[in-house]
Amino acid sequence: MRVTIVDYGAGNVPSVERALERLGAESQRTPSPDDISKAEALLLPGVGHYAALVRALDEQNMRAALIGAIQRGVPFLGICLGLQVLYQSSEEAPQLGGLDLLPGTVCALPSNVKLPHMGWNQVAARRSSRLLDGIESSAYFYFAHSYAVRDSQEASAATCWHGATFAAVVEKHNIFAVQFHPEKSGDAGARLLQNFLKIAA
């Protein structure tokens, strides 16, 4: 099984590639809609501005391929912006539409805390999570974001708090997504990626 990393020209693709490499997983990075359509497993990493991701997906004709593959049941892991883009829209770029595969919108975190939410934080599992399988509940994950999906009742498997409760881990059928960066989260992050590889295999 090979992981297809959606390369939209920004984001932290090399960090993700190295993290998969350390786990002995094969990966290819690609901006090609054809490659995305043929993928066995998809990973959408993300750091940066919501608008940059959405524009890249549209300009490079990746949107339809990505939605098609996910709807066909291809295992998908979204990281950070890769989680946010699954929803309808984001306050970061209200004029642009997301992939609209999950109900809800992305909002700014409240301004009574320091933003961006930057660094290591813990998550609280809401129900049994396949991504968090075997990871201690006290584990820390590395976050770097100012926007988040506020506590969406339906899909969030684990939440985190920074000024507000927001979705940290999302799991719905073949859709998996995390607001933090597993590729930067030490042993706990490596285990989470390993769990995704197992699910996708």
């Binding site: 660094g119 609280a124 030490g186």
Partner: protein, 218 residues
């Protein structure tokens, strides 16, 4: 459950070796960057900062120094970087030095005043889209007298983004002070970690015992 305070070792490299200066000058060798990074990773460092300061040896401005100076003259650069890469990727480094009742922003390796008030500059940088501030006290850097908690607190309370305090760390208590009194979100140090004066793990245990939220599991 809340965001952990970060401990950040800083590796100033000349391209090959880690080097360390006192008050920004007088560089000496402090080890192999790869070996140090691996050790800090094992000990539980929360982030690593790697600064290429080769240019000061080559007598040309470093990339960081260039950005710092350009930003001081043309703050729009911060917005452009922020819109392209996201605010979380834009760290505004401020070298501040006390000048009477306020702090001056220093450039050119901490030697020259940019004639900007550090607090005003920090606020402006955040308005323009900086997502974090790396604040170095030029007065304390390399002295091991402790962080400048007054400076750190003034900047941290003036802006809405996280502040990494830097300059002057030696004792574990210095870190307690900069988190509690200085309201820092992260603390950065170099030589005390490189020279083994302070182990990151022991330091974090000290902080946890004094009620400072840190990430211990790793």
């Amino acid at each position: 459950m809340s965001l952990a305070h970060r401990i950040i070792p800083c590796l100033d490299t000349d391209g090959q070796r880690v080097v360390k200066g006192v008050n920004f000058v007088g560089l000496r060798d402090a080890g192999d960057p790869v070996a140090l990074a691996a050790r800090y990773n094992r000990e539980g460092a929360d982030e690593l900062v790697v600064l290429d300061i080769a240019a000061s040896r080559d007598r040309r401005p470093t990339f960081l120094e260039t950005i710092r100076r350009v930003a001081a003259e043309r703050p729009e650069l911060i917005s452009e970087l922020s819109l392209e890469f996201g605010a979380q990727a834009v760290v505004l480094a401020i070298d501040a030095k006390r000048a009477g009742g306020h702090w001056d922003v220093m450039v050119r390796g901490g030697r020259e005043s940019a004639s900007l008030d550090a607090i005003e500059w920090a606020k402006k940088g955040v308005q323009f889209g900086a997502g974090e501030i790396l604040l170095t006290s030029v007065d304390r850097d390399g002295t091991q007298m402790g962080f400048d908690t007054t400076l750190t607190s003034a900047i941290s309370r003036a802006v809405s983004v996280p502040v990494i305090a830097s300059g002057g760390a030696k004792l574990p208590q210095h870190f307690v002070d900069v988190f509690k009194e200085g309201a820092a979100d992260a603390a950065l140090a170099a030589s005390i970690f490189h020279d083994g004066v302070q182990s990151i793990r022991t330091l974090k245990e000290f902080l946890a015992a004094r009620g400072v939220e840190v990430r211990l599991s790793c």
